[in-house]
């Protein structure tokens, strides 16, 4: 599968307000790509969870929201990148209900369930990169 990037927005994630900005950008791009109301809510919610994770666990990082196309399908790709502490116990963090912060521990596991593709690259001390894609249905 070859993914073509039609448009990309890079944003800093350093404040609560940035989380709102990333969320709105995700929503706008998803809408523009013709995703359904349900798919828009899903990708926008994932944007919120993953941007909040950058803020909560790494203090700062970046988010990129992209309009993408592949095999005639239209979609939204998002990449969340930080140089924070990384995730030592990834299986546990992905299982859900586990949190090192004062929250529900549903951000990673929940986002994964909301998108079509989910990739995570992380190691202790090496930061974290989460990439997700949501496709429009035919």
């Amino acid at each position: 599968m070859t993914i073509r990037v039609l448009n990309r927005d890079e944003m800093a994630v350093e404040t609560e307000h940035d989380v709102v900005t990333v969320r709105r950008k995700a929503q706008a791009v998803a809408h523009g790509r013709g995703l359904s109301t349900f798919a828009i809510a899903a990708i926008t919610t994932a944007a919120s969870e993953l941007a909040r994770n950058v803020l909560a666990h790494a203090r700062r990082g970046t988010a990129s929201v992209e309009a993408v196309a592949a095999d005639g399908r239209s979609g939204v790709r998002m990449v969340f990148r930080d140089d924070g502490p990384g995730i030592a116990d990834l299986p546990r963090a992905l299982a859900g209900g586990y949190s090192t912060a004062r929250s529900l521990g549903l951000g990673l596991s929940g986002s994964r369930r909301l998108v079509d593709e989910f990739e995570i690259e992380t190691a202790p001390g090496k930061g974290t990169v989460v990439t997700v894609i949501k496709w429009a249905r035919f």
Binding site: I40, A41, T45, S48, L104, L106, S109, G110
Partner: protein, 119 residues
């Protein structure tokens, strides 16, 4: 009645809170505190939280809403969350957070019917 931007109205014996702003960290605590102070002041029998205006409810906001219901319950006031949109409901359940223990209704009228009256 409110120090923030969140409107709190009396409807018969109950309080109706309409959430429109995004409830991020900086306003979530103020939201809860405004609502609880209004509950105490009015002695409301029930609390309706209308979220029709929210097109996104992430796990953080869901937690703020369900915590608010728990706080009100400790004070003796029942909460019903009304107006959760179809796409928000679907997203919450897919994420694995169906707001356990929180009562919900389709709209304000249905919600009011679920609350007890003090009279």
């Amino acid at each position: 009645m409110s120090r923030g931007t969140i409107p709190i109205l009396r409807v018969a014996d109950n309080l109706l809170v309409t959430v429109q702003t995004e409830l991020h960290d900086q306003v979530a605590e103020a939201f809860q505190e405004d609502v609880l102070a209004a509950v105490e002041k009015t002695g409301a029998a029930g609390l309706l939280i209308d979220v029709t205006g929210l097109d996104i409810v992430d796990s953080y906001v869901a937690r703020v809403l369900s915590d608010t219901a728990k706080m009100a319950r400790l004070m003796g006031t029942e909460t019903v969350i009304v107006g959760i949109r179809p796409e928000v409901a679907a997203t919450l359940v897919r994420m694995g957070y169906a707001m356990p223990g929180v009562r919900t209704a389709l709209n304000v009228d249905e919600g009011l019917a679920m609350l007890p009256s003090r009279r």
